[in-house]
Subunit: 213 residues, 2 copies
C-alpha cells in the first residue's frame, strides 16, 4: 500500500468526481475506457490505478457506478466523519473555514486553537478559540486524528510537534514550509502555486499572447 | 490544442517539478520510463501527454532535462512575467498574498481592488487598495490579462463580468461558485476539498483507523 504514488491518489479523487457525475446522469455501469476518456487517461491507466486497491470490474459489464463510488469513498476515507482541529485563527484560518465546500461531508471542525492571547476566547463561527495549552487534552478527548495548520512558517514546526505528540496522524499544511514529522504522521502540503500554473497554461495556449512583446 | 484534458495539464506541472528535482541532482537526460516512475505514470502515459505539445525526445538519449524544462515552462506560460490583479482584499485575499510561494517567479501582483469603501485607500502590502471603478482603466493601462478573485460567492459573477469586459482572459477563482464567462475567458477554480481527501486517504490507508468504531 505504501508504494502507491501520490498522483495516483489524486486520480482516485478525479475518478470519484467523474463517477458522481455519471451517477447524476443515471449511468449504472461504465468501462475503464469511458471513465478515463473524460479525464484524458488511457483505459490501461485507469485499470492500473484501480488495481492498486483491489478488483473492481465485472467481466462483460465494466464497473458498476454505485459500487465503485462506495469503494472509492472507502479508499479515500470519506465514507466516515473525521473530526478536525484548526491551528491558527488568523486571516488564512478564517478564510479557509468560511470557504464553502472546504469542510464538506466527511470532515467536521471540532476545535480551533491560536497562540495569540488576544485571539483566545473570541468566537470562531460556532466555536470559541482555545489556547494552545488545551490542545493535547482536546485532541485526546475528541479522538482527533486530523489537523489543519494555518500558522506562520516560523511557528509551523513547533505546532506540528505538539500535534504529533498529542496523537494527530494527518496534517493539512498551509504554511509554506517543509515540516519534519515521525514516519506515522502524514503531512499534506497545499500547493496554491500549481493552480496559477494551470491558469497561465490556459492563457498561453488558448487565450493568445499575454502582453505585447 | 483545446482538446487537451485538464488533468494532462496538471501532469505537465508534475513533470516539470520532477525534472527540476532531477536537474538539481545533476541529471542531464531522462527516459519517459524514469520520468513517469516517480509519479506513478507509465512510460506510455508520459509519452502521450508530451505528444500533445510536440516532439521532445531524442532517439537513444531520451529527454534532455534542461531542454524539456524550458519547453514545459513555455507550455505552462511560466517563462514570462504575468501582471495579476486581485479582487477582494478580505481575509482570503490577504491570506493568499501573504502565502509565500503563491505569487512566485512568473506572477506579479499589479493592483488590488475592493468594493468596500472602508477598505479602499488602505495599504495592502506595497499597494494601495483601489475602488472597483478604477478596475477597467487599470487593467488597460497595465495590460493585465490575469486576475485572482477572492470575493463572496454573491459578488463573484458581477466581478468576473467586469474583468471580462476590461480585457482579462484568465481568472483564478477562490469563490466557491460556478462562474459564467465568454468562451475566450478561462476560469480556474481552486478545489481545496480535494486536498482534504488526499489527507483522509493517507489516514485511512497508512495511519490506521481514525476512530474507535
Amino acid at each position: 500500500m505504501q508504494d502507491i504514488p501520490g498522483p495516483a491518489i489524486y486520480r482516485i479523487s478525479f475518478y470519484l468526481r467523474q463517477l458522481e457525475t455519471l451517477q447524476r446522469a443515471s449511468h449504472e455501469t461504465v468501462s475503464s475506457k469511458e471513465l478515463g476518456k473524460a479525464l484524458g487517461y488511457s483505459d490501461a491507466q485507469v485499470r492500473k490505478d484501480l488495481t492498486y486497491f483491489g478488483q473492481f470490474g465485472h467481466p462483460g459489464v465494466g464497473y458498476r457506478v454505485e459500487e465503485l463510488i462506495q469503494r472509492l469513498k472507502k479508499i479515500l476515507g470519506t465514507d466516515r466523519v473525521w473530526p478536525v482541529v484548526l491551528i491558527g485563527a488568523g486571516n488564512l484560518g478564517r478564510a479557509l473555514m468560511s470557504y464553502k465546500g472546504f469542510l464538506r461531508k466527511g470532515f467536521q471542525l471540532a476545535a480551533v486553537f491560536d497562540a495569540d492571547p488576544a485571539k483566545v476566547g473570541r468566537r470562531f463561527g460556532e466555536l470559541e478559540i482555545l489556547p494552545m495549552e488545551k490542545l493535547q487534552a482536546c485532541v485526546h478527548e475528541l479522538q482527533v486524528r486530523m489537523a489543519i495548520i494555518a500558522v506562520t512558517p516560523e511557528a509551523a514546526q513547533s505546532v506540528v510537534d505538539l500535534l504529533a505528540a498529542a496523537g494527530v496522524r494527518g496534517v493539512l499544511n498551509f504554511s509554506p514550509t517543509n515540516l519534519k514529522t515521525p514516519p506515522d504522521v502524514y503531512v499534506q502540503s497545499v500547493d496554491l502555486a500549481l493552480q496559477l500554473e494551470q491558469l497561465s497554461f490556459r492563457m498561453s495556449m488558448g487565450a493568445g499572447p499575454p502582453l505585447a512583446p
